[in-house]
Amino acid sequence: MVSIWQLFWSFFKIGTFTIGGGYAMIPLMEKELVDRHGWLTAEEFMEILALSQTMPGIFAANMATYVGWRLRGILGAVASVIGNILMPILIILALAMGLHYVQGSPVVEAIFKGVRPVVVALIAAPVFRMAKTANITRYNFWIPVVAALLIWLLDVSPIWVIVATVIGGFLYGKFVEGKEATS
């Protein structure tokens, strides 16, 4: 039986030593969970990865939740998630408190003026990569376009877009594709 402390510590390492966002944790997660401890097979790891990406919430936290639960139930899930996010929270807090002293400083403002457009680019770039993975075709490209326009121009909350997509997808799958399969 996997120890709770071990779960906490593994995810603590993963959370502390990955820079650049949740997805950057994937290699370290694989190293810890599959290679080092053998808690998951490579295939299980991939499946849980896909699930964590699809489910709402933060990818890294979802991974920790499911893996922790798998190995030690609810307590394992809690230990894993807390381990994963504890250090990031502390670091950001330290930064937030420090930032308040330097905010408005011309040096910091100058640096961020250069950085801000790059952030937008970093958010925008994956859109194209994701479009390919999501199998965007000329028949379904209206979905992301409409979703984007609704949120950007009409101030629709993304939550409604997601709810509408799930309901729409469910109805489409049940009635349209269902009929095609049986006819």
Binding site: M55, A60, G114, V115, A121, A125, P144, A147, G168
Partner: protein, 169 residues
């Protein structure tokens, strides 16, 4: 996730300005941890501070935000996640998931579009240099990330240096 946080924190509640949001996204790229957690922590702290409370209370706000942002997914993973794992081959499940993936592309595009504003890029009237340089940086970073998969950390550090040199010196 970013799109939703942006919607709630900046657009709907005005707890942070667009610039503050972009700044924390930038900082999150160079610090450990998932961006969602970092942004939630920072937003929690900043929102409380901006509202005029003292830092101790803001720390509580930061922890509260982080806790809240993972609470529902935590429950969802354990309830819905297990269901999905068992039924992942169900065609309806797969259809819904495929449509969700498409919608998410739109969500992220919207997040980027919402950041195309004077706070991020500057205006022609105020500072044409900033506007043109920002557009140039955007285009360069966009292609570097898309075509060469350049590390976001590198891009942000370089952009910071450029900003420092151009705007401060």
């Amino acid at each position: 996730m970013l799109a939703l946080i942006q919607n709630e924190v900046v657009e709907k509640n005005g707890w942070m300005t667009s610039a503050e949001f972009t700044d924390i996204v930038a900082t999150s790229q160079i610090t450990p941890g998932p961006i969602g957690i970092n942004v939630a922590t920072y937003a929690g702290y900043t929102a409380v501070i901006n509202a005029g409370y003292d830092p101790a209370f803001a720390v509580f706000g930061a922890f509260l935000s982080s806790f809240s942002v993972i609470l529902l997914p935590f429950i969802a993973m354990l309830v819905v996640g297990r269901y999905l794992m068992r039924h992942k081959d169900n065609p309806i499940v797969q259809t819904v998931l495929s449509y969700l993936k498409l919608a998410v592309v739109g969500l992220i595009a919207a997040a980027a579009l919402l950041l195309v504003n004077p706070e991020t890029f500057g205006t022609f009237a105020d500072n044409p240099l900033q506007l043109f340089l920002s557009i140039a940086l955007f285009v360069a970073a966009f292609f570097a990330s898309l075509k060469w998969k350049t590390s976001p950390i590198l891009l942000i550090v370089l952009a910071g240096v450029v900003g420092f040199v151009v705007y401060y010196l």
